[in-house]
């Protein structure tokens, strides 16, 4: 190993390492997830209509989201690794071979960023958290869309260009401590076969016996976790056993701008910057939908707009929060960076570059929000599962223990604040580093940093205000 190799490699850990190196590790993780997914669909469609009693809503909106962000924080994009949708897609591809290539105009993140925003909108408009029926259909629609897209188009088009959950994971995993990475760059230099991206075929060249990276990430020049689903195909494919799951400083990939395999330069990817902004401002917006002031705002807007339906009011809130507000805040910061700090960069490249600096803050907000639901309601999975089993005819797991909930709110709220402080610290560190690089564009680094730090502090203050608001919660009353 070279001197610059990190000390920690997950694949070197006893038991865990051999498991992740195992050829069928992904399938082994996907099968239980698929079974849970099928149970959620069945219970959502045929089980109780009350959300707190249904597996579809409880697992989707309490456990899945909470576990997702905590695993991203502590490890990496392991949920994409265990994605059950991909298992079904693999089975389907044995029957249907995709023939088309994804249109060039859609090879970016705009569609997926739009779908991400659309899911947030639909979640609020149709109160998905309270509807097992619609939650189940959302899961069914997800399966159907994957089968349709990946049944028609080659490679992992759905993961890379469509999947909103995947995009969330890609952006959040830039803060993760683990990365699928080459152990020693020197080993890759003489490599002629490049199996990590090409895969391997049988001697006749007709049958793929080992896939390479379907998301077009060439390991030797791959940087960070963006677009990496942790599928581990490259680990299996490398004939030199030179790919590991290595530790790295979280957010480090946001601070630099090298050319990245399968991505290019972050500073030239307006679409990924747009996705990062939807991720960050969407975190605040999604939390805003859970607190009392949103109802007062919706009511006031409804009166001003003379409408009684929620859709146009909610649409206006979304347009303001995801487009107008970021443009105004980041536009002002970019203008100050040019006028006050003396940067020669144009406003849009400045906004694109610094948009990545807001990702830690956004992730802090997602963590605070989703971990709240997860930690305060983690034990509800037990009575809901007991109830689901009992509904089959016999209470094999006992009568539902509805008193089981989770950690009391008063203990979770300090943790929420901690996540927000962590996010702010990360964003300040990243924007500070980006401002240092601003000197190359003729700017004063400290003056370049101040406007972006002010944006971070303003968003952080909004996030703290949000989590301190009384929640307009939808709960259960049982007697």
């Amino acid at each position: 190993m070279s001197a610059e190799s990190p000390a920690f490699d997950l694949l070197k850990i006893p038991l865990i390492g051999p498991f992740f190196s195992w050829r069928h590790a992904r399938t082994f993780l996907q099968i239980p997830m698929l079974i849970v997914g099928i149970a959620m669909i069945a219970h959502g469609l045929f089980g109780p209509a009350l959300a707190p009693k249904n597996l579809a809503t409880t697992v989707s909106w309490v456990h899945f989201r909470g576990a997702l962000v905590l695993v991203l924080l502590c490890a990496g994009n392991l949920f994409c690794l265990a994605c059950p949708f991909m298992l079904v897609r693999q089975w389907a591809r044995r029957l249907f071979r995709p023939r088309f290539t994804w249109p060039r105009k859609l090879r970016n993140k705009w569609l997926s960023a739009g779908l991400f925003a659309l899911i947030l909108f639909v979640y609020e408009l149709f109160d998905l958290w309270s509807s097992p029926w619609w939650t189940a259909w959302l899961i069914v629609a997800y399966f159907a869309t994957i089968l349709l897209i990946d049944g028609m188009f080659k490679h992992a088009v759905f993961c890379k260009f469509v999947c909103p959950i995947g995009q969330f994971n890609f952006v959040a995993s830039t803060l993760s401590p683990l990365e699928v990475k080459v152990r020693d760059q020197g080993v890759c230099v003489p490599c002629q076969t490049k199996d990590c991206i090409r895969g391997r075929r049988d001697p006749g060249g007709l049958v793929t016996i080992q896939r390479g990276c379907e998301l077009a990430l060439f390991q030797p020049s791959k940087v960070g976790n963006m677009d990496c689903t942790f599928c581990l195909e490259c680990i299996q494919a490398c004939p030199h056993d030179n790919v590991g799951i290595l530790s790295r400083p979280p957010a480090s990939e946001l601070m630099t701008d090298p050319r990245r395999s399968g991505i290019g330069f972050f500073s030239r990817r307006t679409d990924i910057a747009g996705l990062a902004l939807v991720f960050t401002f969407g975190a605040l917006l999604n939390a805003f939908g859970m607190v009392s002031p949103v109802y007062a705002l919706e009511s006031w807007l409804g009166r001003v707009m003379h409408v009684s339906h929620e859709a146009p009011v909610l649409g206006l809130i979304f347009v303001f929060s995801l487009i107008v507000e970021p443009v105004l805040m980041l536009g002002l910061a970019a203008w100050l960076t040019r006028v006050w700090a003396g940067s020669r960069r144009a406003p849009v490249p400045l906004i694109v570059r610094y948009a990545y600096g807001l990702v830690p803050l956004g992730f802090g907000m997602w963590l605070a929000h989703y971990s709240f639901h997860f930690l305060t309601g983690m034990l509800t999975l037990i009575p809901v599962t007991q109830n689901a089993v009992a509904s089959l005819g016999r209470p094999l797991l006992g009568e539902p223990l509805w008193t089981l909930t989770g950690i009391p709110t008063r203990f979770v709220q300090p943790l929420e604040l901690g996540f927000l402080i962590l996010g702010l610290t990360g964003s300040l560190l990243v924007t500070h580093r980006l401002a240092q690089d601003e000197a190359e564009a003729g700017a004063h680094p400290v003056r370049a940093f101040i406007p972006w730090a002010a944006v971070c502090l303003a968003l952080w203050a909004a996030a703290v205000w949000l989590i301190l608001q009384p929640m307009e919660m939808r709960a259960t009353f049982m007697g």
Partner: protein, 57 residues
């Protein structure tokens, strides 16, 4: 409407007159609540009825 994962509140209703029951329940936060009434009849038969209490402030 109700959000999954939130802490349920429990209360017991006692008979105060023939066919009339009274109990106390605390709405511990604002929002839309669902009251589930579990009834055990004299013969042991169990019933569940749901009442929606929306817009608690």
């Amino acid at each position: 409407m109700s959000h999954p994962g939130m802490r349920p509140e429990f209360g017991e209703a006692l008979e105060v007159a023939a066919g009339r029951y009274r109990g106390r329940l605390a709405f511990t936060m604002a929002g839309d609540w669902v009251v589930l009434v579990h009834v055990t009849l004299r013969g042991g038969q169990k019933l569940e009825r749901q009442l929606d209490v929306n817009g608690v402030r």
